[in-house]
Subunit: 182 residues, 2 copies
């Protein structure tokens, strides 16, 4: 595999409460130099949940997304508290957002998004054997829950009704893991 | 579907050459108020390509991603120039990044990523009937090209070697579209 470029200099260009923008001055092994901007990771660790109420269905949530100023279909997700493992965070978010707890949680792996510009990643967790539970969450309004047959994911994506890349990728990971299990 | 919250105020918090950070003050229909930060879209339109050299294989690229400071496996992608349609941009990026042109290009739809924080989206284009072509690109070094059997995408994701959410989602869109075609 090709070697990574040398980071000659890192500058903090701008920051807000939530984001930090950095410029990295890079030199590639062939001598080419570039300055790339990225959003710095804040150490925020996040989880995304593929929750199966039974082996043929998955739970989607619809919530307001300010980036696109519309209601967006996706998966339950949230941040891990500093003291939590990813599985503990997944269990808490599932209870808070969906009102269910899982007796079986499986780590499916990590997803990056736009790794050329963002440092963020999220852990994908498969949640099964669900039963009702309750914890108050921090959502401004309750999420709409949709129970979707796993066999209809492709059609939903094809119609443009599910377009969130992380959610689609997490569902693909879950479908692949379930196929390997059978 | 639930109504979207009212945007009470939008503030520009910070900006760099590439990014703008905004705060949106929102009031939800139940009266709850929140302030959310987002990265503002710059009007940048991007395409991601699922290029099939034959019906059983797809072309992946490996390139340096500064957000995660490592070489990352993904799909050919790039920005559309203001005068270009998405299909024109896809053809140009395919020639520049991969050295191939496509006689058949199909728009598969749009992907968002982290729409709670980002305004960005990308158009996914299926490229088929490929033949050699050449245009100089703007990459600092040539990309590594990998010819992968479509049947191995799930395993590659399962092993954590392909973790870029947009690329996995785009591949899922392509697999779904190909399954519908057959």
């Amino acid at each position: 595999m090709r070697s990574c470029p040398t980071i000659l200099k890192t500058e903090l260009l701008a920051e807000s409460g939530y984001f930090q923008i950095e410029a990295l001055h890079l030199q590639f092994s062939n001598g080419q130099q570039r300055v790339y901007e990225r959003l710095r990771g804040t150490g925020y660790r996040s989880v995304m949940l593929v929750a199966l109420p039974d082996p043929e269905h998955v739970l989607l949530v619809r919530e307001y997304a300010v980036g696109v100023e519309s209601q967006v279909l996706g998966l339950p997700k949230g941040g891990a508290e500093p003291h939590e493992t990813y599985l503990q965070a997944a269990q808490r978010e599932l209870i808070e957002e969906v009102g269910l707890r899982a007796d079986r949680l499986t780590e499916l792996g990590e997803l990056t998004l736009a790794p050329g510009h963002l440092c963020h990643s999220c852990q994908v967790i498969l949640a099964e054997q669900l039963s009702p539970s309750y914890l108050p969450g921090d959502e401004p309004e309750p999420l709409d829950l949709i129970r979707l047959p796993l066999s209809q994911i492709g059609d939903l994506v094809g119609r443009g009704e599910l377009h969130e890349a992380r959610a689609i990728a997490a569902l693909f990971m879950a479908l692949s893991a379930l196929a390997r299990r059978n």
